[in-house]
Amino acid sequence: MTADHWGFVLAAYGIAAVALGAYWRHLCRREQELTEQRSHIPPGAGHPGPKPASRSPLQ
């Protein structure tokens, strides 16, 4: 009977789970960051400070 190599099966699924899980967590975290950032901006008052991603020369 052929060997089953369960270790390999576990490794393949394990790596997939870790990679997909990490990506999912990254997306959730980023979404949360952006929602919080937005809710902290007082309405109509403009930007509270220099945003790291902003490259507009008008800031």
Partner: protein, 221 residues
């Protein structure tokens, strides 16, 4: 905004249920394969990820054409998100393929037609993400990436044929391929469930990624 979050959450749950079902099918329902043994169960991960990757890059093609035609930022965000998720899934395909290959073929890597094609696919769209990362102006990045997305997608069939001919005309036809000789009902069913599950996961990831991209753009405005 709330509606969008509800949809996103629903998609997430759908994907989770799908994946759970897929695991059950892969390990409890699908029979033990005769020639390879249980290591063949990696196929229920390897094949769905590659098929969904192709779907992702097809979406990149359509979104890229749509962007060049309409200049709609939503199309650009879709292309970007789909390429990212596509590269992730392609990477997983290669990984699972290598892990499957080691016990069955005795080697982590072999330049067989399928693995080689997928490797080229991976590098092409990784380049796409690299290009996007290196252009700072959003509008120019969108345009250039769209052009690259179209050329890369048009290249896929050419890559397939060339690599396939390159391998099969010099290898004996009895080259072992990871895959059952005949697809029994159980194996086919498990494969289909997993394909659907990973497709749902792709949709969920793309939905979330495009939402993040849109929020980032709004934050810069």
């Amino acid at each position: 905004m709330r509606g969008e979050q509800t949809v996103s959450r629903a998609l997430g749950w759908l994907a989770a249920i799908g994946l759970a079902g897929g695991l059950v099918m892969a390990f409890a329902v699908a029979p033990r394969e005769i020639t390879q043994g249980n290591v063949q169960r990696i196929m229920y991960l390897h094949v769905p990820t590659v098929l969904v990757a192709y779907l992702a890059f097809a979406v990149v093609l359509v979104a890229s054409i749509a962007y060049l035609w309409r200049r709609d930022p939503a199309a650009d965000r879709l292309a970007h998100a789909s390429a990212e998720v596509g590269v992730l899934f392609t990477g997983l395909t290669i990984c699972a393929g290598a892990i499957w290959g080691k016990p069955t073929w005795g080697t982590w890597w072999t330049w067989d037609a399928r693995l080689t094609s997928v490797a080229i696919l991976f590098v092409m769209y990784l380049g796409y993400l690299l290009l996007r990362g290196m252009i700072e102006e959003r509008e120019r990045a969108a345009r250039y990436a769209a052009v690259l997305g179209i050329v890369a997608a048009l290249d896929i069939p050419l890559v397939h044929f060339s690599v396939y001919w390159w391998r099969t005309l010099h290898q004996p036809p009895s080259l072992l391929k990871p895959g059952p000789a005949t697809m029994s009902q159980g194996i086919l069913a498990a494969l289909l469930v997993n394909i659907v599950a990973f497709a749902l996961l792709y949709v969920y990831f793309v939905a979330k990624r495009t939402a993040v991209l849109r929020r980032e753009e709004e934050a810069l405005a």
